[in-house]
């Protein structure tokens, strides 16, 4: 059961694909002001999900694997919104897959049974197929061979772009299914987060964004 947020969704700007964007179309401050239109319980769930699934490391994010797994389990038990639960499961499952690829590439042994190392629905499948190139998950995750290739080539930027794109597409699909629901709101917030993370990697775009911010402050827009 999700409520509708016609006013909130209507107040959010168009978010271009992260590779095409030159600046953030809305500042975090303004976004948070708009998010005040959320029902308190939805706002709380979204804030909790952000601490887990933010693209970049934040102060609020758990620092150890065990703490992350514990926070994830708590979020899965307490989150009422099924779409948000699905997102957390997908996003952190994806993170687990990449962690497993990295771990194997680094020559580390496979995680022991009972070890708190990953989250999401594919942990058991990964362990069961540890020695297969894509953990027997290519049918569900078609991006895995490409991600493995980027890891082998040590192309961190291409891997980041691929993962961002996979999550971006997932969020776009969920937003389209409920254009004025909570789904559209949280999809916007997480896409905005991806866009911010992407722009932070591009010095020229970051400079343009900074100049826009300066203009905004000077002209009081």
């Amino acid at each position: 059961m999700t409520g509708n947020y016609y006013t909130l969704v209507g107040s959010l700007p168009y978010l271009p694909h992260f590779e095409k964007a030159e600046w953030l179309p809305i500042s975090r401050l303004k976004l948070e002001q708009r998010l005040k239109m959320l029902a308190p319980e939805d706002a709380e769930e979204l804030a909790r999900a952000e601490t887990l699934a933010a693209w970049q490391m934040t102060l609020a994010k758990p620092k150890t694997d065990a703490a992350m797994v514990a926070r994830y389990r708590e979020a899965m038990e307490t989150t009422r919104q099924p779409a948000l639960r699905d997102y957390l499961e997908y996003r952190l499952g994806l993170q687990t897959l990449v962690a497993a690829l990295r771990r194997r590439k680094a020559g580390l042994p496979e995680p022991a049974r009972g070890e708190l190392w990953g989250m999401g629905p594919w942990v058991e499948t990964i362990l069961a197929h540890w020695h297969e190139p894509d953990f027997h998950l290519t049918v569900i995750h078609r991006w895995l061979p490409e991600a493995r290739k980027h890891l082998d080539d040590r192309n961190a930027l291409a891997l980041e772009r691929l993962l961002m794109n996979v999550v971006w597409q997932w969020l776009s699909r969920i937003a389209e299914s409920h254009p004025f629901g909570f789904e559209a709101v949280f999809a916007f917030v997480f896409k905005w987060d991806i866009l911010r993370a992407w722009l932070a990697r591009d010095p020229a775009a970051a400079k343009t964004w900074f100049q826009e911010l300066i203009k905004e402050v000077i002209h009081g827009r």
């Binding site: 016609y6 006013t7 969704v9 209507g10 107040s11 959010l12 168009y14 004025f180």
Partner: protein, 148 residues
């Protein structure tokens, strides 16, 4: 039993107006909320958003027309027909106005960031409006066949 049948006839007379008005309320509220959100985001052209938000109100007018056409002396001969025409055209107006509200909200959301698509973004809302017109016109045509 006769009283019950005649009562159903009276419900049928008022149903298009009442259901159309309920639908228009939902539709205008949806589109209106999206318009209010867009007002926070755009620098000008507020009027067109508010105008689009009013589109789902037309179903109430169609409901009034059908109700006035169905109004006649209620008898056992015509009550069942009035009930069927009134309720079904009312439900059609109710659903189309709610759905039109959603299409208007989507049009407002699309055109606030890309003003050049404003006209074409209203096409889905116009299509939905067309179905309301069908429901009204054929209710009027069939009402002519009911016993006076």
């Amino acid at each position: 039993m006769e009283t019950f049948i005649v009562s159903m006839g009276w419900i049928g007379i008022y149903a298009p107006l009442a259901l159309g008005a309920i639908g228009s309320s939902f539709g205008c509220a949806r589109a209106g909320m999206a318009a209010c959100g867009a007002l926070l985001e755009v620098e000008g052209g507020y009027g067109k958003f508010v105008g689009v938000a009013a589109m789902p109100s037309s179903q109430t007018i169609f409901g009034i027309v059908v109700t006035m056409t169905l109004r006649r002396e209620m008898t056992l001969d015509n009550a069942a027909g009035i009930f069927a025409l009134g309720i079904l055209s009312g439900v059609a107006l109710l659903v189309s106005s709610i759905q039109q509200g959603s299409t208007c909200a989507a049009a407002i959301n699309a055109s606030k960031s890309k003003p050049e698509v404003f006209g074409i973004s209203l096409a889905p809302a116009a299509l939905v409006e067309g179905f309301s017109v069908f429901a009204m016109v054929f209710a009027l045509v069939l009402a002519a066949a009911l016993p006076k």
